[in-house]
Amino acid sequence: MTTILQPDHATIPGVSKPVTSRAARRVHGLSDRTIAWLFVAPTIALLLAINIFPLIWMIRLSFTNLNLSMSYLPLRFVGLDNFRDILTDEDVWFRLQTTAQFVISSVALQVVVGFGLALLINRQFRGHSFWTTIILLPMMLSPAVVGNFWTLLLQPQIGPFNYLISLFTGAPPSSFSMTGQVALAPWTIVLVDTWMWAPYVMLICLAGLRSIPDYIYEAAEVDRASAWRQFWSITLPMTVPFLMLAVLFRAIENFKMFDMVNLLTSGGPGSTTELVSISLKRAAFEKWRTGYSSALAIILFVTVFGAANIYVKTLNKVKQR
């Protein structure tokens, strides 16, 4: 039982009961709305301070020539110059293309692998829980850890990956470099990203598969529908909204992908795997082109936001069908 300790007002000099009751009345007098605002205010203040204010500040900086490595130069308003420079720069378009290729390839592969794994895991078999845990392990690792250990696995002379490939192809293990060759490096980052994130897609798909009521399959079996027919007519259509959700999440994440690729290839060889996020980091924190990189960040934000909005509208339409 909780005992509430009440101070004995009579024993506190200078404090009398009417004061306490006035205060209580004041608290009592707060409307629900005011109390709600009191609770929400700290969160809003925090959001404004660490999210909204930097965003507004960044928008302001994107119209300036600010370069932090030359902060002694006068800060000039340059209008839309940064945006024009970015949109007319061939290198930026090339990075965007590289990023788009990475996003499309890796998300497509993750959906196929993730969905396949979900179909397997959805069945009951011996060691089911064990294999589920094993499959989920990669996505629990930090991208920095994944980047580092895949760098070792892919090392042409000592890495086991090349030895594994040489078993199947007969090519000497040190005759190719997964992260160092122009033809292989883009696929390497797709492969590692898929290894890490296909389990995440699997989880989402699994939720979709488990949401399909059993009676639909039972009805299909009564109608003598084959397993293939059941897959095409029941399983796939009913998991499409979940798949689309997985695509949305993974596409947004991969558009921002930085850490793992930076550790695996540093954007190389040359600029072959230089995703737009790596370019942005280089412009902002290595070249210190603050104005330019703010403009690039805004362009990327608008791109992702716009694409995500269109996608969500499509997703809603699919759900309504």
Partner: protein, 453 residues
């Protein structure tokens, strides 16, 4: 009542704990005036500096704290710190290329008055290190750092392999000359080709290790060793920032082509993104016959039980058809302008500049730039690599040290890596694009860039 008792005892404990913490904090605050934080890269010489610093603490009572960051994030971390006017570092051993930005942005304390007062003369230091690490603008008597760690690119080779009779005779039979440390890049390439894929002690070995790293400065710090010797220069010596026809001259393009040939013919597989550490690993594991790397690592390599001692030899960066230079490395030590302990930091620099301290610095693994140390008659015999170091310091050239150096460096990283490792375009195209990039950077900086000589 029990509750109140618990409350009282908790409050009492909290008060005692707060008081104790306060006392501790107060003690720390009292000691704070006598503690300096020195920022540098995490590498072998940094460990030597920690050892050396103990003498300073003994003499002055000032505790030394160190903030060492791996080379791959050294520039990012500390330039961010300086840019944001952070107070982490009182003293910083900053890279030579930072000096322009550090001076213009007033990140470092100007040391002229201090040098005059303490009778520290820059004439007592190796000229290349004074220009490279201390002066901004270059070749003017404006000092922002004391040369702290002299360094340049040099080469190590497997002396034991080079001296084997069967290898010597095979080499002579193939090239008609004795196998010896190369004097020119053509000789180096021949030797590298000779060793490439050769089996030594039952193990396949490779010709040479060269820098190819993409992310920070690696490939630039490697390729410039060849470019300088093929006629590349940063700008027209008579017309500042005039780069057209100089950066991208036909000779410079040949130099770049040579670096790519060397990379293709004679390096170990997978060395597509390799810098200092990968070179050390390759050499220590007995994988390569010759290794390009910074002199700073040579004391450690000489002590290595597997490849050091009699097994290792050193040579100066080979000459090319148009000259004989090598890439300057190394750093100067500066007082950070935002430090709250500037006087103590200056006391450290005064102590560090003493000849006896500089002598010890060299003996324990650092590289002194003080003439009294390096010009001493016994210096060449003081370490196996001392003569090569001395010769190298006389032929060094450095990358741009402009405030915009980071942009210039990243542009060169991109263009060179695109050509050498990713096989994109020709060497001439790579250098033409580099001129275009650099011109844009200088124009943004407000410099006048002439397009013709």
């Amino acid at each position: 009542m029990r509750r109140l008792g618990w409350l009282r005892s908790t409050v009492a404990s909290a008060v005692v704990a707060t008081a104790a913490l306060g006392a501790l904090g107060g003690g720390e605050a009292a000691a704070q005036g006598k503690q300096l934080t020195l920022c540098w890269a995490a590498w072998d010489p940094a460990n030597a500096l920690v050892e050396l610093g103990k003498d300073f603490t003994k003499q002055s009572g000032i505790e030394m704290k160190y903030e060492f960051v791996p080379w791959t994030s050294y520039a990012d971390r500390f330039l961010n710190e300086l840019n944001s006017h952070g107070k982490l570092c009182d003293l910083i051993i900053g890279d030579s290329q930072w000096i322009g930005g550090a001076a213009e942005n007033k990140w470092y304390v100007k040391l002229n008055d201090f040098f005059d007062k303490e009778k520290i003369s820059m004439d007592d230091f190796v000229p290349a290190t004074v220009v490279g690490y201390s002066q901004w603008p270059k070749n003017t008597p404006n000092y922002w750092a004391l040369p702290a760690m002299a360094d340049a690119v040099g080469w190590t080779y497997r002396k034991d392999w080079f001296s084997r009779p069967e290898i010597q005779s095979a080499f002579k039979a193939k090239y008609g000359r004795d196998l010896a440390p190369p004097k020119t890049y053509d000789e180096l390439k021949q030797i590298a080709e000779f060793f490439q894929g050769r089996e030594i002690d039952g193990k396949k070995v490779y010709g040479a290790y060269i820098f190819t790293e993409r992310g920070s400065e690696g490939i630039t710090m490697g390729v410039t060793n060849v470019l300088y010797n093929y006629g590349f220069a940063y700008d027209n010596p008579k017309k500042a920032y005039q780069m057209q026809g100089i950066v991208n001259s036909a000779d410079a393009a040949k130099g770049l082509e040579f670096y790519k040939e060397l990379y293709k013919c004679c390096t170990a597989p997978g060395m597509t993104n390799a810098y200092m550490q990968e070179g050390l690993d390759a050499f220590k594991s007995g994988q390569v016959a010759m290794q390009m790397n910074w002199f700073a690592f040579f004391p450690g390599l000489y002590k290595d039980p597997n490849v050091g001692g009699d097994k290792i030899g050193f040579f100066v960066n080979p000459a090319g058809p148009k000259g004989h230079f090598t890439q300057l490395g190394g750093q100067g030590i500066s007082v950070v302008a935002t430090s709250e302990h500037k006087d103590d930091a200056l006391a450290y620099i005064k102590w560090f500049a003493q000849p006896a301290v500089q002598q010890k610095w060299w003996q324990i693994g650092g590289y002194s730039a003080l003439k009294a140390v390096v010009d001493a008659p016994d210096f060449p015999k003081s370490a196996a690599f001392a003569p090569q170091f001395l010769e190298s310091m006389g032929i060094v050239k450095d990358f741009w040290a402009e405030p915009s150096y980071a942009q210039l460096l990243l542009d060169m990283q991109k263009r060179v890596h695109d050509y050498v490792v990713a096989d994109k375009g020709t060497s001439q195209q790579a250098l033409d694009l580099l001129v275009k990039d650099w011109t844009k950077v200088f124009k943004e900086q407000g410099k006048e860039v002439a397009s013709s000589q």
